[in-house]
Symmetry: C2
Subunit: 206 residues, 2 copies
Amino acid sequence: MDQKVDTRSRILNIAEAAVLEKGFEATSIEEIVAGAEISRGGFFYHFKDKNALARAMLERYINAENALYDDLFARARELNDDPLHCMLIGLKLLAEMLEEMPTGHPGCVIASTAYQDRLFDEGVRDLNRQAILGWRKRFRGMFEEIAQVYEPREAVNMDALGDMVSGVVEGGLVLQRALREHNNASEQIMLFRTYLKLLFADKQRP
Amino acid sequence: MDQKVDTRSRILNIAEAAVLEKGFEATSIEEIVAGAEISRGGFFYHFKDKNALARAMLERYINAENALYDDLFARARELNDDPLHCMLIGLKLLAEMLEEMPTGHPGCVIASTAYQDRLFDEGVRDLNRQAILGWRKRFRGMFEEIAQVYEPREAVNMDALGDMVSGVVEGGLVLQRALREHNNASEQIMLFRTYLKLLFADKQRP
DNA sequence: GGGTCAACTGGACTCGCAGTACAGTCAGGA
DNA sequence: TCCTGACTGTACTGCGAGTCCAGTTGACCC
C-alpha cells in the first residue's frame, strides 16, 4: 500500500493530471491506461465508463479542496483569534499556496466540469453544485462571524460574498489558464483580501 | 441578406448555442449541419475543421463582447462624466443586462475555451489571450482615470484590478453554470462595484 | 444561350476512440 | 484445493471527425 499505489488511485492520478491539462474529452482512456500501465480491460474493471471516472475525480478533488480549506483556516486561527484577521491570514496563505505551485495551479475541476456538463450525468453535476454550496456556507459563516465584530461599511449579501471566494478563485484560474501567466489567481485573491479589509476594518462594533 | 441569414452565420449561430450549452467536444458536426439544414460537405466547405469553427466563434464572440462594453460605458458616460460614477453605472448596466437574459447568460466562450484548450491550435489560444489582455487594458485605463480624481484607500495593482472585471464575470458565470442559479454573475458584479465604491469613494484628491 | 464560378449536395471511405464481451491468468486467503 | 478479486488480451460494434470527390444549382457575365 505504500510500495505500490493501488491501481484505482493511480488511474485517478494520471487522469486528473491529463484532464486538468487538456480537458476531459481530450483525454483518452488509451493514454490513461498507458500512463497507469494497465490494460483497457483493467480500466473498465474499476470504472464502468468515463462518467464514473469523472465522478470519482470530482469527489476526490472536492474532498481534497475541503481538507485544504480546513487546514488553511485552522492554521490561520492559530495565528490570530480575531475572525477578520483569521480570514485575512487564511486568504494570504491560500494566495501563497497558489503561487508556489511551480507549474501554476492545476486549474479547477469545478469550472472544467461546469463548462462540459452535458458530458456528465446528473450525479456529477449535483456533486459540483453541492461543493460550491458547501463553500458558500463555509465562507458565509466566517463572514457573519466577522460582521458580528466589525460593522460592514456597505451592506452586502452574505451568500454572494461567500460565493465570491469561489468565484474569485475560479475566475482567477480561468484568467491564468487563458493568459498563460502564473499568478493571476493569487493576485485576484489578494485583491479580494483588500476588499474585505476595506469592507470591515476600522469599524469595530462598540 | 435579410431574408435568409447566410449559411456561414447560420452555422456559427447554431454552433455557438450548442457549444455554450454543452461544450465544444460534446457538440457534433452532425447536429450542427442538421440544425443549419446543410450537408456535411457544406459544413467543411465553410470551415476546414472544427478548429476553424472554434476560431471563428471566438472571434465573433470577442467582437460582440467588445462592442457591448463600448456601448455600455458610452451610455454610462452620457449619464455621468465623473470617471468613478461612469464605471459604477457601467457595471450596474452590465449586471442588469446579465440578469435580464431570461435563460441566464449563455456563459463565456473564453472560459469554455480555456478549459479545453488542447483541442485548439495556437491561433485560438492566442485569440483568447489577446481578448483578456484587451479587457485588462480597457479597464486598467478606466481605473487609472478614476485614481487621478480619487485617491485609492489601499494600494492596488492596476493590471490586476483590470483583470478583476473579467475574473469576476468569468467566475460568476462558472458559479451560475454549476449552481444552475440565475443571477450569480450579476451579484458578483454588484459586489465588485461595492468594492470600487469602498476603494475610491469619498477620498477626492484636492 | 453558353460559360463560369461559388455554394453547395451526397456518398464512400479511413481513422481514432468509447464501450462491450468474454475467455484466460495469477496471487493470496479460507 | 478451490475461490475470488484484480486484472490481461483480443476481438468486435458504433460513432464522430475528417478526406475525397463527382455532381448539381443558381447567379451573373459576355
